[in-house]
C-alpha cells in the first residue's frame, strides 16, 4: 500500500514541473492481471487529494451502474476517465458534483469527500458544492442569452461581484482564461448560441470558471467539436491545470494521453485500473485495459 501511495505521489509531483512525463515509468511488471479479476489495480490514492472517493456504488433503480469505486483526485492534476460506452465513467463524474440528484431513481452509496467534507452528507448543500465543483457538458449548452449574460449569470447568483465594474472584470477574466476574449469582446451582447460549436464550448468553460470553482468536471467536452476546436480546448485544459483540478471523461484515448497526468480505466461499472497516463498507455497492468487501449474492443 505504501509503495502505491509513494509512486502516485511521485507522479503528481512530476506532473507539476513537467507535463511530458515520459521517463517516469517506475513500476515494471510482466504478468498482467487476468480479465476476470475486477479488483482495481494501480495507484488509486494520492497524498494531496482534493477529492477522495471511497467504495462508491451507484444504482439507477435496479441497475448497478458503478461498483465499489475507490479513487483519489489530486490537486491541480488532470485525471482522464476512459472506457467503452456505458462503462459508467460519466455516471461517476456526475457523482462528483451531485448532478445525478436530478435523475429519478439514482442512488449513491459510499463516501465522496472534497477537502475532507462528505458531499453526500445530509448537511451538504448542493448549491455551494456545484459552485466549488463546476461542470462542462458533452454538448455545448450556452444559455439562450447574450455572451455577457452567459458568463455573468453564475457570479451574479452567487453574489461574487459587488457592482457592475467587478462583474465586468470577472466576465473579462473568465473569457480571457478560456481563450475566447479576443474573439468575442466586440459582440458581448450577441446571443451565446450564435457562436460556433468550439466557441460555444469554450464559452461554457468560461461560464464554469467564472464562479471560481476548485474542481472542473468535463464530460466528453470535445465529442461535438472538430479537430481544430478540440485542439484549442485541449490547450485550454492544459493551461487551466495551473489553477484548477480537472476530471475529464473522454472517448478519445489520444486526448486522454495528451491532456491528462493520470488515467482511470472503467469497464462495465468497475474501475479496472488507475495510473499515471503514460504507464496506462504504454504498459497497462490489467488485461482489460490492454485490450481496450490496443483497440481489441471498445
Amino acid at each position: 500500500m505504501t509503495s502505491l501511495t509513494e509512486s502516485a505521489d511521485k507522479t503528481v509531483d512530476k506532473s507539476f514541473d513537467d507535463t511530458t512525463v515520459t521517463e517516469a515509468i517506475e513500476v515494471e511488471h510482466t504478468a498482467t492481471v487476468a480479465r476476470e479479476n475486477r479488483e482495481t489495480v494501480g495507484e488509486q490514492f494520492v497524498d494531496t487529494a482534493r477529492m477522495t472517493c471511497r467504495d462508491v456504488d451507484v444504482y439507477y433503480s435496479d441497475k448497478h451502474a458503478i461498483k465499489n469505486v475507490t479513487l483519489d483526485i489530486g490537486h491541480n492534476e488532470v485525471i482522464a476517465m476512459i472506457g467503452p460506452s456505458g462503462c459508467g465513467k460519466s455516471t461517476f463524474l456526475r457523482c462528483l458534483n451531485r448532478m445525478n440528484d436530478t435523475i429519478d431513481g439514482c442512488r449513491v452509496s459510499g463516501t465522496i469527500e472534497i477537502d475532507g467534507q462528505d458531499i453526500y452528507h445530509k448537511s451538504m448543500d448542493v448549491v455551494p458544492l456545484r459552485a466549488q465543483v463546476g461542470m462542462v457538458f458533452q454538448k455545448p449548452n450556452p444559455f439562450p442569452k447574450s455572451i455577457y449574460e452567459n458568463i455573468a449569470y453564475g457570479p451574479r447568483i452567487h453574489g461574487l461581484a459587488q457592482n457592475k465594474a467587478e462583474l465586468d472584470e470577472i466576465v473579462e477574466r473568465s473569457l480571457e482564461r478560456a481563450g475566447l476574449w479576443d474573439e468575442v469582446k466586440d459582440r458581448m451582447e450577441q446571443p451565446g448560441t450564435g457562436l460556433s460549436g468550439g466557441q460555444q464550448q469554450r464559452l461554457c468553460i468560461a461560464r464554469t470558471i467564472a464562479v471560481s470553482p476548485e474542481v472542473i468536471l468535463m464530460d466528453e467536452p470535445c465529442s461535438a467539436l472538430d479537430p481544430i476546436a478540440t485542439a484549442k480546448v485541449e490547450e485550454l485544459i492544459d493551461e487551466l491545470r495551473e489553477h484548477y483540478t480537472i476530471a475529464i471523461v473522454t472517448h478519445s484515448m489520444q486526448q486522454a494521453a495528451r491532456v491528462s497526468q493520470r488515467t482511470a480505466y472503467f469497464h462495465l461499472g468497475d474501475l479496472i485500473e488507475v495510473g499515471e497516463t503514460n504507464q496506462i498507455f504504454t504498459n497497462p497492468r490489467h488485461q482489460l485495459t490492454e485490450d481496450y487501449i490496443t483497440g481489441r474492443f471498445g
Binding site: 454538448k139 449548452n141 439562450p144 464562479v211
Partner: protein, 439 residues
C-alpha cells in the same frame, strides 16, 4: 448470408438485379406519395370551403345589423308636457312625458290619422328609444324646451326590416308585421326624405333590450371581458404554478400519478358539470352573487385550468435538459434554474395554452346558464359583482327571440365574438413569436 428463408430456396437461380427491382417499384412509390399529397389538399380545400360557408352565411345574415333606419322628426319640445311645473328641476325634467311629445309630433306630421287604433299603429313607426333620446337632449340642454328641433330618431324594428327588404309587401296584410296603412305612411316619409339608414352605433354601445333597434352588444362584451379577466387572473398563475410544481418538484409516485390522471380527466368533463358545481359551491354555499362575472370567472377557471396545466407541463417538458443542467452546473438552485432559465423558455408554450384555454372560455355558454348569467340584463355591468351576461349567452338569447330584427343581430353578435376570438389567437401568435428563442 442473412437473407430470409425464401432467398435460400431460390439459391439455384440467378439472383435478380436489385437495381431493376428498385426501378420497378419506383412508379408505385411516387404514385403513393402523390396520392397522399392530394388527400391533404382535398382535406384543406374542404376545411376552407366550410370555413368560407360559415363566414358567408354569418356575414350575409349579419352585416345589415350594422345599419339602422332612422326617421327625421320635427319635434316641438312642448313645455306643458316636459316641464308642467316650469321650474326646470332635473327630477321633474327626467319625469317629463317625452312619449307624448313624440306622439304629438307624429300626429302633426300625419294630421289625417284619426281613431285610437290608427293612432296607435302610427306611433308604432318610431322606436320607444325616441323618448329616451329626447329626454337625454333636454337633460343636457334644458333651453331646448319650447323650441322646435329637427332630429333623427331610430325607427321601429319592423320599419327597419321593411327598409332592409326583409318584409315582403306582396304578402296578404294579415300575414305581415306592417299594415297597409303603415306601408303608405312609410312610403310618404321616404318620399319626403325623412327616412335614412345610418351606422348603428347603438349596437356597439348599448346593453340588451326587448326592442331590437335599442339592443346592443356592449353589455355582453363588457360582461365577457370581466369574466375573462377573472378567469385569466386566477387560472394563469394557478395553472403555471401547478405545472411547475408537478413537473419540477413533485416526486414521481402514485399520488402524483393519480393527480395527473385526474387533471387529464377534468379536461374532458362536460362544461355544464362545472356550471352545476359553480351553482352548488360558489352561489349556494359561499353565497356569491348570482349572474355575476366573478362567479362566471371562477367556473371558467375550473374549466380552463386543466388545459393550461397540460399545455404548461408540455412546454416545461420541451425545454432541453441541457439548459437545466447548465444552470444547475454553475450552482443555481432548483428554483433559480426554473425561474431564470426554464420558465422563460417555456413561456411561449404556456401562453399559447393559456390563450387557447381563454378562447375556449370566451365561447363557453353552458356552465354560465347554470349560474344565472342567462338573465336579461339591460345595464352595462360596472364591476365583477354586478349582474352581467356574456357574448355567447347573448347570442343564445337573441337567437331565441321571435323578432325578425334579432336574426341579423344574432349574426352580428357572432361576428363580434369571432372578432374577439381572432384577436386573441393573433395575440397568441404574436406573443409566441416574441418570446420564442433559439437554443
Amino acid at each position: 448470408m442473412n437473407r430470409p428463408a425464401t432467398g435460400q430456396s431460390q439459391a439455384g437461380k440467378k439472383p435478380p438485379n436489385s437495381m431493376e427491382m428498385v426501378r420497378a417499384s419506383l412508379p408505385k412509390r411516387y404514385a403513393r406519395e402523390k396520392r397522399f399529397q392530394w388527400y391533404g389538399r382535398v382535406a384543406i380545400g374542404m376545411a376552407l370551403l366550410f370555413l368560407s360557408l360559415l363566414f358567408i352565411s354569418i356575414v350575409g345574415n349579419g352585416y345589415t345589423a350594422f345599419q339602422q333606419t332612422y326617421v327625421k322628426l320635427d319635434v316641438y319640445f312642448d313645455p306643458d308636457r316636459i316641464d308642467p311645473s316650469g321650474d326646470r328641476a332635473p327630477d321633474a325634467l327626467s319625469a317629463g312625458d317625452y312619449g307624448g311629445v313624440v306622439k304629438q309630433t307624429l300626429r302633426n306630421m300625419f294630421p289625417e290619422v284619426r281613431g285610437r287604433r290608427d293612432k296607435r299603429t302610427l306611433y308604432g313607426l318610431v322606436s320607444t328609444g325616441a323618448d329616451f333620446k329626447l329626454r337625454e337632449m333636454v337633460l343636457a340642454d334644458p333651453s331646448l324646451i319650447g323650441e322646435t328641433a329637427t332630429l333623427w330618431v331610430p325607427a321601429d324594428d319592423d320599419v327597419d326590416m321593411l327598409m332592409k327588404g326583409h318584409i315582403d309587401r306582396s304578402l296578404p296584410e294579415e300575414d305581415r308585421r306592417l299594415k297597409d296603412k303603415q306601408l303608405a305612411w312609410i312610403d310618404r316619409l321616404v318620399d319626403e326624405g325623412r327616412v335614412e339608414k345610418r351606422f348603428n352605433t347603438t349596437f356597439f354601445t348599448a346593453g340588451d333590450s326587448r326592442e331590437p333597434e335599442l339592443a346592443g352588444i356592449w353589455g355582453a362584451a363588457v360582461g365577457s371581458m370581466f369574466t375573462l379577466a377573472v378567469t385569466l387572473l386566477l387560472s394563469f398563475p394557478l395553472g403555471v404554478a401547478t405545472a411547475v410544481y408537478l413537473e419540477e418538484f413533485a416526486p414521481k409516485n402514485r399520488w402524483t400519478d393519480l393527480i395527473e390522471v385526474n387533471i387529464n380527466n377534468l379536461a374532458a368533463v362536460p362544461s355544464i358539470v362545472f356550471g352545476l358545481l359553480g351553482l352548488a359551491v360558489f352561489i349556494n354555499f359561499f353565497g356569491l352573487p348570482r349572474s355575476a362575472p366573478v362567479v362566471g370567472g371562477l367556473v371558467l377557471t375550473l374549466m380552463t385550468l386543466p388545459t393550461i396545466i397540460i399545455a404548461s407541463r408540455a412546454a416545461l417538458k420541451s425545454v432541453p435538459p441541457s439548459i437545466r443542467e447548465a444552470a444547475l452546473g454553475v450552482g443555481a438552485s432548483k428554483m433559480q434554474a426554473i425561474f431564470h432559465h426554464i420558465l422563460p423558455l417555456a413561456m411561449p408554450g404556456m401562453l399559447t395554452g393559456t390563450i387557447i384555454g381563454m378562447a375556449q372560455a370566451l365561447g363557453e355558454t353552458a356552465p354560465l346558464l347554470m349560474i344565472g348569467m342567462v338573465a336579461f340584463i339591460v345595464d352595462i355591468p360596472g364591476g365583477v359583482t354586478e349582474p352581467a351576461t356574456v357574448l355567447p349567452v347573448q347570442i343564445y338569447l337573441w337567437a331565441d327571440s321571435p323578432e325578425r330584427a334579432f336574426v341579423e343581430r344574432t349574426s352580428a353578435a357572432i361576428m363580434v365574438l369571432l372578432a374577439f376570438l381572432i384577436t386573441m389567437n393573433a395575440l397568441a401568435v404574436i406573443l409566441r413569436k416574441r418570446f420564442e428563442r433559439r437554443w
